[in-house]
């Protein structure tokens, strides 16, 4: 195996310099940034040329966003130099960054809902006149030039996530940005939308723009960028040409060790229906329906995946089952594993559900806002599930603290001690604490919403393994995910939600020929409007 060493990495960089203009559009030299004792970036060197797409690859917490925030003027580096077109500059505020024609598209959009696209795009421009028609014309020009699909007069609240992202990108182009930084732009997009975004980015590249995209998705890096710079734990690992690398090499650079990227999936055994959901309907506090006639069955000994664009009703569905969401109609039936007796869980509180002897565990999406208490230590967080046990007024901290110690050692939670507030822990460790506690309750149904969001590769695989372990123990696992590759590899069945409706249930354990089109198929289901859900089910069974 010819794995490139540090020496060959620098060669790669030199060779790039040969066949592109000598002066990079932006160059970072020895950038360092610390927060207290935490070194977010140490000695980072990077350069991006005109007409080039550079990926910054690294796990969560590796310092990608911090680095980009320094280029866009949100943070100021402790040490090091930033050069633009060969000249050293000081970027002290986002305004400075705009002056140097740097535009950043953040992960969380900053748009005003009741304004149109054009109004948002020109917001804050101070050029003396306010001629919306002229602005609109320029917005259309930008759209045509790079192939954006956008109606400049559409209000933000009518837009899909990808349209909002388009507005953000045009906003920086409108201000004349030559260097664009995109922070995890595909996290919220469907596969089809991602493809379209990449086409647009390639058009911009042809136009001579420099594009930096922050990501942790390997296949995107490989399909889009010219070069990849890898960060690991705040350190700069190296830059490689995309054409000369592959997934396993990049993973190794990113993690620092070889990682097996295959998820083991065992055949489900002894499956029987554990949870039956029929015709669920519910509305959000604004009175807008968020779940429409949702029906499905979850079986023990299998992992049921739930796919869908963010906000398609995944959260409400799980919360409805957990007793946290009021239903308008529908039934949720739990079938006891021992005697086959049934319990109606509809509109019961979590406490009532537990008192029925239903061992339902739930790893919610909002870990620190719902699953855990951020300001409490691991011990007190363990107690959330068990503090009511026993009579008397006083808390029993001894059982939770031994459970805490057990989880810390078994799941290798990195923490100063069991009393450190969990909000101080890294995302992966927070999730280990939460999943550990939920599994310790010996569930018969385990629901997990986005359990690997924000986790590094090793922690993610630890979570997949824990879910698989539970499945093999005969637990009915419901897994809401966003990475379709993972859903397809891990789950036994995948249910797709689209605008609160079930648009289809697919079997990912299909033949290889079908596996290729699986992602495409799920992607289409994610955006499809369901005319007649029952028809869809039939179609599914034939497929």
């Amino acid at each position: 195996m010819s794995e490139p060493t540090a020496a060959s990495v620098s060669e790669t960089q030199a060779s790039v310099t040969d066949n592109t203009p000598v002066i990079p559009a932006i160059e970072l030299r020895n950038i360092t940034k610390t927060f207290g004792d935490v070194v977010a970036n140490s000695g980072i060197n990077l350069s991006v040329y005109r007409g080039e797409i550079l990926s910054i690859l690294g796990e969560n917490g590796s310092g990608k966003t911090t680095l980009m925030n320094m280029i866009s003027g949100i943070y100021y580096p402790d040490n090091g130099h930033i050069l633009i077109n060969g000249e050293e500059v000081m970027i002290r505020s986002p305004k400075d960054a705009f002056r140097y024609r740097i535009g950043m598209i953040h992960q969380h959009f900053k748009l005003i809902d009741v304004f149109t696209a054009t109004e948002n795009i020109v917001l804050g421009l101070n050029d003396g006149k306010y001629d919306l028609d002229a602005y609109e014309k320029r917005v259309r020009e930008i759209c045509d030039r790079y192939g954006f699909l956008l109606d400049p007069r559409k209000k933000i609240y009518d837009m899909s996530v990808s349209e909002k992202q388009t507005v953000e990108i045009i906003k920086v182009l409108f201000r004349g940005a030559d260097i664009l930084i995109l922070d995890e732009p595909t996290a919220v997009l469907t596969p089809q939308e991602t493809t379209r975004l990449f086409d647009v980015l390639r058009n911009m590249k042809k136009d001579g723009k420099s594009i930096i995209i922050i990501t942790h998705k390997l296949h995107e890096v490989l399909s889009l960028s010219d070069r990849v710079s890898v960060l690991c734990k705040g350190r700069y690992i190296g830059t490689v040409k995309t054409a000369e690398t592959n997934e396993s090499q990049l993973t190794e650079m990113m993690v620092g060790e070889k990682v097996d990227l295959n998820i083991h999936r065992s055949e489900p055994v002894n499956t029987e229906v554990r949870l039956k959901v029929e015709g669920l309907n519910c509305k959000n506090p604004d009175g807008i329906p968020v779940l429409k006639d949702v029906s499905f069955e979850a079986k023990c000994g299998e992992i049921l995946g739930i796919a869908g664009i963010a906000g398609s009703g995944q959260r409400e569905l799980l919360e409805a089952i957990a007793g946290l969401q009021k239903l308008d109609s529908g039934a949720i039936t739990y079938i006891h594993p021992d005697d086959g007796g049934t319990e109606d869980l509809r509109n019961k509180s979590p406490k009532q559900i537990r008192e029925l002897g239903v061992r339902l565990s739930f790893v919610p999406e909002d870990r620190l806002g719902m699953g855990l208490v951020g300001n409490m230590g691991i011990i007190d967080n363990m107690m959330l599930r068990s503090y009511r046990k026993g009579h008397g007024l006083f808390l029993n901290r001894s059982t939770p603290s031994s459970l805490a110690e057990q989880i810390i050692s078994e799941l290798q939670v990195v923490t100063p001690n069991a009393k450190t507030p969990v909000r101080r822990l890294s995302g992966g460790n927070v999730q280990k604490v939460l999943v550990g506690r939920e599994i310790a309750a010996a569930p018969t149904v385990l629901m997990a919403a986005y359990p690997v969001r924000g986790l590094d590769i090793n922690s993610s695989y630890l979570i997949y393994n824990l879910l698989n372990e539970q499945k093999e123990k005969g637990v009915s696992v419901i897994f809401v995910g966003e990475d379709l590759d993972v859903l397809i590899e891990l789950c036994d069945r995948i249910m797709v939600l689209s605008s609160g409706q079930v648009s289809g249930i697919v079997d990912p354990k299909a033949t290889p020929t079908r596996a290729n089109t699986m992602k495409e198929e799920i992607g289409l289901l994610m955006t499809s409007k369901v005319a007649n859900p029952s028809e869809n089910h039939k179609e599914e069974q034939h497929g």
């Binding site: 610390t34 927060f35 207290g36 004792d37 100021y76 402790d78 040490n79 633009i84 000249e87 050293e88 500059v89 000081m90 002290r92 400075d96 002056r99 140097y100 957990a322 007793g323 946290l324 509180s349 979590p350 406490k351 009532q352 559900i353 537990r354 739930f362 919610p364 909002d366 620190l368 806002g369 719902m370 699953g371 855990l372 208490v373 951020g374 300001n375 409490m376 007190d380 107690m383 959330l384 599930r385 503090y387 009511r388 007024l393 006083f394 808390l395 101080r424």
Partner: protein
């Protein structure tokens, strides 16, 4: 554009702020102690400018005002006890992030309840029984005053801060009305010492004035500390305060916790009202609580909602109040002087938190090269 770049290049920020998360405890404690010292330096400079005394005189006058005679000492401890009692009373609600700023009214209405029992029942029952009736009435009045906003918050999510504040004004008006009715001569605004002959409804601590008051508050402080940190209900309060979603997720009935906690909070304010009337004032005026219901909010925050730490701050604030009062008496200044002096110390204590959470870094010379 190139010229623009050059113009910008020279300016570097002189310093920048960086957040720090993990200052060792002893270091943080030292900074806090130092901040109090800085506060006293401010006091000395300010007092020097106003009255022209040297720092030694100022400090010794303040000490003398608080500790000079046995009576002053007892008075200081009694003031500390009442302030601490109200501070501890508001704490359960604060731990729940229920911003109850109505302790003033809750305490005042229980003062009124205690005083009316004292006046209307008087010697008709034995003194211990009267005291129990007064205590019960005060606790009940405080609890009712506190639970009304809690019910509205729990069921209709009204803003508790505005609601409890408004309840203060209601309490003041109700009390003023009764003070008017009971005052001799009617309308003079002076109820006078109630039962001054029979001493019915007075807490008498033998030769040590206020001893019983102080002991009751110590017991109550420790009990509340245990309740909040080692009881299931105290744990539920913390969970609801940190995140209502988490509370719902584990099946805590948030409405019940809000109402129950405010009942406790109001009842403890009731205890404070009882101690004020039966243990110290033996009368009632519309200003019986004297703003301590608001000072208590500050004490609770300064003590980080820990009743044990709060006892230190209650003492410090009472000391500052009494010490400053001594200076104003001797110099003929008005009471605003005392407020300013207290303000200096509180400003420093709160301001020092900035240095505990952030560090200031000056740009190093070598970077400029």
């Amino acid at each position: 554009m190139a010229s623009e770049l050059k113009a910008n290049k020279v300016h570097e920020p002189l310093f920048h702020l960086a957040k720090r998360d993990n200052m060792p405890r002893h270091k943080a404690l030292l900074i806090r102690i130092a901040s109090i010292a800085v506060g006293f330096v401010f006091i000395c400079v300010f007092a020097f400018l106003i009255v022209g005394w040297n720092p030694a005189d100022i400090l010794s006058t303040m000490l003398d005002g608080s500790f000079g005679t046995p009576n002053r000492r007892w008075d200081l401890f009694e003031k500390t006890a009442i302030l601490l009692c109200i501070s501890v009373a508001v704490t359960p609600a604060f731990r729940m992030r229920f911003w109850n700023i109505g302790a003033e009214g809750q305490t005042l209405i229980s003062c009124l309840a205690a005083a009316s029992c004292m006046k209307l029942i008087g010697t008709r029952v034995p003194n211990p029984l009267l005291l129990l009736i007064m205590l019960g009435a005060a606790v009940l009045a405080g609890a009712i005053w506190a639970v009304i906003p809690a019910i509205f918050k729990a069921f209709w999510n009204t803003n508790e801060t505005l609601f409890t504040l408004m309840m203060n004004y209601v309490a003041t008006q109700v009390t003023s009305y009764f003070v008017y009715i009971w005052s001799v001569p009617r309308g003079s605004g002076h109820v006078g010492v109630i039962n001054s002959d029979s001493r019915a409804g007075w807490i008498v601590s033998g030769q040590y004035p206020y001893l019983l008051n102080i002991l009751i508050v110590i017991v109550m402080t420790i009990t509340t500390y245990i309740y909040l940190n080692y009881c299931k209900q105290g744990y539920e309060i913390s969970v609801v305060g940190e995140s209502e979603n988490t509370a719902r997720y584990i099946g805590i009935n948030v409405k019940i916790v809000i109402i129950r906690t405010m009942l406790i909070s109001g009842a403890l304010c009731g205890l404070a009202g009882f101690l004020i009337v039966a243990g110290a004032d033996h009368t009632i005026i519309a200003n019986s609580v004297g703003g301590q219901g608001f000072t208590a909010i500050m004490v609770s925050w300064l003590g980080k909602f820990n009743p044990l730490i709060m006892s230190f701050f209650a003492f410090l604030l009472s000391f500052l109040g009494k010490g400053a009062k001594e200076i104003t008496t001797l110099t003929g200044l008005d009471s605003a002087f005392a407020d300013i002096i207290t303000g200096f110390v509180i400003f420093c204590i709160i301001g020092c938190e900035f240095f505990i959470h952030y560090s200031i870094r000056f740009r190093r010379k070598e970077d400029k090269a």
